[in-house]
Amino acid sequence: MANGARNMEIATPPQQPEQGQSVWDRIASSREFKDLMATKRSFIVPAFIFFVIYYFALPVLVGYAPQLMGTKVMGPVNLAYLFALSQFFVAWIIAGLYVKAANNFDRLSQDILDKTNKGGNKQ
């Protein structure tokens, strides 16, 4: 319940004329928050671009280079099937790496939460 009350306080940004900024703006412009966003971006953007390229390479190659993709590489198994199968493992690996990286995000955002809540109690 104490938690809820505190959140309510945050949810309605106090109008402080001397600062002219809401709690949200203050957090958004803090160095800690910018750090969090930069850390997130440095993982999510490359990971997203990589998976989109890797995934769409499959329909593009299968559709426009069927000869190449039909090449048998392991007995009767062709490149097309192996490439499709690899998508599952690549997706799992990216998910695993993300969870690892996200532990870092959690730590950074916990710092911001702690700092904000401390500030909130003082007021």
Binding site: I10, P59, F88, L113
Partner: protein
């Protein structure tokens, strides 16, 4: 008595037991719509998988692979990879900033009434398309399984009544556990089938893929053909096939992150970190399942054969017929009742997402300005709308009949989700300038663009010879205006363009001013909805 019927009655009894238990546990909006946000990460992961692996996955994919080989497996790939969009972009911000529906996230910075109204329309559209496809599938399946014991109409009505019961009495908690039971059954059945397929080939991948390399069947003209089913291009043929494949990929990879019944699942867990873990659990299950469609589909192609399947219920019966060929009637009944359980669980998930959106977004927020006039009203409205949704779905499914060609409805659901929902969610989280006009226009253009393009696509339009009847027949007998079955490649950019143009044409300082609030909330979880005690 029929074994399928017995197994199915057992499943229904278990799910009704769950519903009774859930109905006695707790009351209130957060309990009804979000299972008090107390579902554990692994539980929600299994439930997401249960919500996602529909009849289209289990019966449909196995059937497409059994008839068109490799190209069918490409669906499997897209359906898993799609979860990276959910994991990297959507799940955590949504859990941090929302309450019950995807519109909650939009309503933070934008004018709530127009945005929620439009988002509700799009949610109901996606859920209804998806649901009708499942209901028609269920009716047709029961007719095949129970023969003359149950008619199509009775089956559709039974599914409709059960889904109403789950949702009205059990809410999100019961729906979650029905999903979990179903997902476990589905995985068990699929693993068993896969092992039996490999046992048939003496556990030799060489023998298995060797057989896949020479599937023999009669083509449309009655000639015997031998095809390598690992070769791409049996379904997606030039000139438009490759483009259609890319378009399908786009709809799957960006549509999943806009499916309302998947998105609402992330509100059932305590926080964003748990939401993240539930996506990872879901990816483990969904990925394993879709890899095993290799054995289901190619197993049916090699062991049962397309000719036999065609004569015994058609493509959708591939997996049950494979079970019958490998282990006899009891296993056939087991796999068939799993297929039926699958449909029931997915339909329940769709119903709860539709009713949540109607009562929370439309009733409370659009009509009554965000105020519940008396406690419990939101839940009451949701319960009433579950009856309406159920009745409408039963009515349309009966009207369409067992032979309706409904495959395009699932494609439509994904296309609308990708073209209408995803652009506005993404832009509202990432673009400071984004505003109400942009959201409404993005949703409207994405919704109408994808529906319009499907209506003039080969999924709906085509000229059939008069001898062709039933499922294969096109709804509109004319040459298709748009060459692709899936509109994603055009409709997704349309949705984004609509949202961007709408934004640029108007100015809304409050939306920009509140961007920091949404940015901080969605990234840190500050002020996020907490789990509630019973």
């Amino acid at each position: 008595m029929n074994i399928s019927l017995v197994m199915f009655v057992v499943f229904i009894a278990i799910t009704l037991g769950i519903t009774y238990w859930a109905s006695r546990r707790s009351t209130g909006s957060a309990a009804y719509f979000a299972a008090s946000r107390q579902i554990k990460g692994w539980q929600n992961g299994i439930a997401v998988a249960g919500d996602y692996m529909s009849a289209a996955s289990f019966l449909g994919i196995a059937g497409i692979i059994a008839f068109q080989g490799y190209d069918g497996f490409l669906y499997s790939v897209g359906w898993l990879v799609a979860y990276l969009t959910v994991l990297l972009v959507i799940a955590e911000p949504l859990r941090n900033a929302g309450k019950y529906t995807m519109a909650d996230v939009l309503a933070y910075r934008l004018k709530p009434r127009p945005v929620r109204g439009m988002a509700s329309v799009s949610t109901l559209a996606v859920s209804t398309f998806y649901m009708i496809a499942q209901m028609v599938g269920a009716g047709a399946l029961v007719k095949l399984l129970l023969g003359n014991m149950v008619t199509y109409n009775q089956a559709v009505i039974a599914v409709g009544i059960l889904m109403i019961v789950y949702v009205v009495f059990g809410g999100m908690l019961a729906t979650t556990w029905v999903q979990i039971v179903k997902a476990v059954l589905l995985m068990a059945g699929t693993i068993l089938l896969s092992i039996l397929v490999m046992a048939h080939f003496h556990f030799s991948f060489g023998q298995f893929f060797g057989a896949v390399g020479q599937v023999t069947y009669h083509d449309a003209k009655g000639a015997v053909v031998v095809k390598d089913f690992l070769t791409p291009g049996l379904r997606y043929k030039p000139p438009y096939g490759p483009l259609d494949l890319i378009s399908l990929g786009l709809a799957l990879v960006f549509g999943t992150a806009g499916l309302p019944h998947i998105l609402v699942r992330f509100y059932t867990v305590p926080d964003a970190k748990t939401a993240r873990h539930s996506v990872v659990w879901a990816m483990a299950l969904i990925g394993s399942f879709y890899i095993m469609t290799t054995f289901l589909g190619f197993g049916a192609a090699t062991i049962v054969g397309p000719d036999f399947i065609k004569g015994h219920g058609g493509t959708n019966m591939s997996a049950p017929l494979l079970a019958q060929a490998l282990a006899g009637d009891v296993f056939f009944a087991f796999i068939s009742s799993i297929a039926f359980a699958t449909i029931l669980a997915v339909v329940a998930g769709l119903t709860i997402s539709a009713t949540t959106s109607f009562s929370h977004d439309f009733w409370t927020n659009v009509i009554h300005n965000g105020v519940e006039r008396k406690p419990g009203e939101e839940v009451l409205v949701a319960r009433i709308s579950a009856f309406v949704v159920g009745a409408v779905a039963i009515g349309i499914a009966i009207l369409l009949g067992p032979t309706a060609n409904v495959a395009f409805l699932v494609a439509l659901a994904f296309a609308v989700a990708a073209s209408a929902n995803l652009p506005v969610i993404v832009l509202s989280i990432f673009w400071r300038r984004f505003n109400t006009a942009g959201a409404v226009m993005g949703l409207a253009v994405g919704l109408m663009g994808s529906i319009g393009l499907i209506m003039v696509s080969p999924s709906v339009m085509g000229i059939d010879p008069p001898t062709l009847t039933g499922t294969a027949r096109h709804l509109i007998q004319a040459k298709a205006w748009f060459p692709l079955e899936n509109p994603g490649i055009l409709s997704i950019p349309l949705g984004f363009v609509g949202a961007i143009v709408g934004t640029l044409l108007s100015s809304e300082p409050t939306s920009q001013a509140k961007f920091n609030e949404l940015l901080v909330r969605s990234n840190t979880g500050l002020g996020a909805e907490k789990a509630t005690a019973h």
